[in-house]
Symmetry: C3
Subunit: 269 residues, 3 copies
Amino acid sequence: MDIKTHTADLLAGIRKTSPLVHNITNFVVMNSSANILLAIGASPVMAHCRTEVAEMASLAHALVVNIGTLDEQWVASMILAAQTANKRNIPVILDPVGAGATRLRTEMAQKIMAEAKISVLRGNASEILSLRSSDVKTRGVDSSLAMSREVADTAMSMAREMDCIVAISGEKDSITDGGRMFFVSNGHPLMTRVTGIGCGLSAVTAAFCAAAEGDLLAAVAGAHGYYGLCGDLAIKVSNRPGSFFTAFLDMLYTAGPEDIHAGLKVDAS
Amino acid sequence: MDIKTHTADLLAGIRKTSPLVHNITNFVVMNSSANILLAIGASPVMAHCRTEVAEMASLAHALVVNIGTLDEQWVASMILAAQTANKRNIPVILDPVGAGATRLRTEMAQKIMAEAKISVLRGNASEILSLRSSDVKTRGVDSSLAMSREVADTAMSMAREMDCIVAISGEKDSITDGGRMFFVSNGHPLMTRVTGIGCGLSAVTAAFCAAAEGDLLAAVAGAHGYYGLCGDLAIKVSNRPGSFFTAFLDMLYTAGPEDIHAGLKVDAS
Amino acid sequence: MDIKTHTADLLAGIRKTSPLVHNITNFVVMNSSANILLAIGASPVMAHCRTEVAEMASLAHALVVNIGTLDEQWVASMILAAQTANKRNIPVILDPVGAGATRLRTEMAQKIMAEAKISVLRGNASEILSLRSSDVKTRGVDSSLAMSREVADTAMSMAREMDCIVAISGEKDSITDGGRMFFVSNGHPLMTRVTGIGCGLSAVTAAFCAAAEGDLLAAVAGAHGYYGLCGDLAIKVSNRPGSFFTAFLDMLYTAGPEDIHAGLKVDAS
């Protein structure tokens, strides 16, 4: 099946079954991530207390772990929830917000990846590349070069080494499982001037993974394509950030198969 | 006085006196609840630190306790604030978000109700019914049947047993003090696709209760009717969630006596 | 240079260099403050964990400390971040949300000011005046009299005593370093009916201070003027709070030198 039809089918699946996405995420985006998930048809729940995360993850169809506004106390909850998700074989998306900027973020992201199995690691180039082991060679990478061949190559090495899907957001998104590679060209630069848009993509990726029955890589690529496409459609309504975000939420609610077939820009390399 | 005139009077009272509503609420909705309270003319304050909640509750005209994104550390603050509110005889609204989903939520909601007097328990059917004692008999209730006669009967039993007003939100809202019962038909299904709308109703209920001098039950019913009415008016502006929520806030700020007389759908059973 | 040209230059500097503004702020406004900073062209980061605040403050160009939804555990992080900022000589803006309302807020704001050097203290009259020492004489001040000569005089005494800029928001904003005084007449009352607008001004003030090379007082006055001007422009789009805030974010993104020259109302006394 081609990626457009596949993406449209996954979206229809989300809207039909409303998968429950458990988010342990940062304070800045809790509201926007919940609204983004509701707009595409998923059911969000936010829960971080160590006493209940295992129980909540047991009810969920996917888990998002996002380390923005991280507090050390939360890390144990994140790991416990991820391990519970692992036992149940539901997808776990890790968004390593700010990894590379402070040691706490970098080390805690690494710790989470060491103690639980992550299905998808999603972030921008500098965040993702800060998490590579010294075995993964790169020649000094700048996030502005995010979509260079070099970043894509590093992503592929990381995906193999970590045995997970690596999704690097940028002007063009690179998504790989270490074997195949997808590039996504949807999306607009204004999306970087609204907070929580990246974190919302991690949540949407979780919903698409929850709806996927087999091919998780195509689901991640489809999620990125659809999300960027809704940005492409929203920018036609407004090129200013306040009204753009309103339009973006509207598009996540309304954009359907016809929009996907007309505008999805996802290419296998 | 009929319920429409009564509701319009309460709204006018809120806009005139700006009652201070103290919220101990979840991270997802702190911003939206504050904006919803400001839009109707109330004054919100969010404060959860154990050291200050008693002092803050002493300044307030109503208290909202909402257990979404619950952390065990917050429960002591919730109880202390509620006990302070009890001493001052100001209304306490409990929104048991997620009760029934995890043991932590169910047990903490029950603990709060055991240690303080709640004026209004407001949530959806599955949340509220998860808090009934085994003495309150129900025949297996599904939240999709929320507005069935059975749920209404259970609400009435719970209200009597717990000696508080029970307000169950759904396609039709059921509000009872164990004696009288109101049904509210205002509101639109899109309100369930925007996060924080339910929590915002708990906050608005607190403001209406703060403005009420006598009949708390009619105030709760009026709050539900007015809130749903603003949804009815907003859906005429937009049927997409981003722009709907913007329009909803606008309506909470502008809808007045004429709108209430034209559109409030609150019936005593 | 006149204040209009100076303000336009600072704004251009923010948009060109995207200063990193580190916020330790309250849960209610984390999202809105981030969006406000992004809209004017700055780069926001929210981080509060004691383990990382010194490292994050070391990367930043300005620091905002905001005590809304305060928790005692956060105060140590606030002080550590502020002391780090002091060592690096970057501006520190303190927003004492709720000071005067509870002892915790008042005392913690005073503690922060005692243990670190604050560049700008920004809030409404009742918050700021609650922090004056007993040496600063005032004759019973009501916040409704915020812009009275008396408040301005007190602000000037406080600025001298505390050796920082004091900015009091109100119908007319008063901004002083204890020597010079600016009054800002931009802004609209509807800005008080949207949550986080005051806190967002503290964040914008931080960005302007980060862009200032010399005259911090003029930067603070310019920030207040520009921010209020965007409110003046947004109110022409909508006088209802939901759509007003959307328009306000849009204006923060688009309003430029021409708008500043046409509409900035900043006067030196």
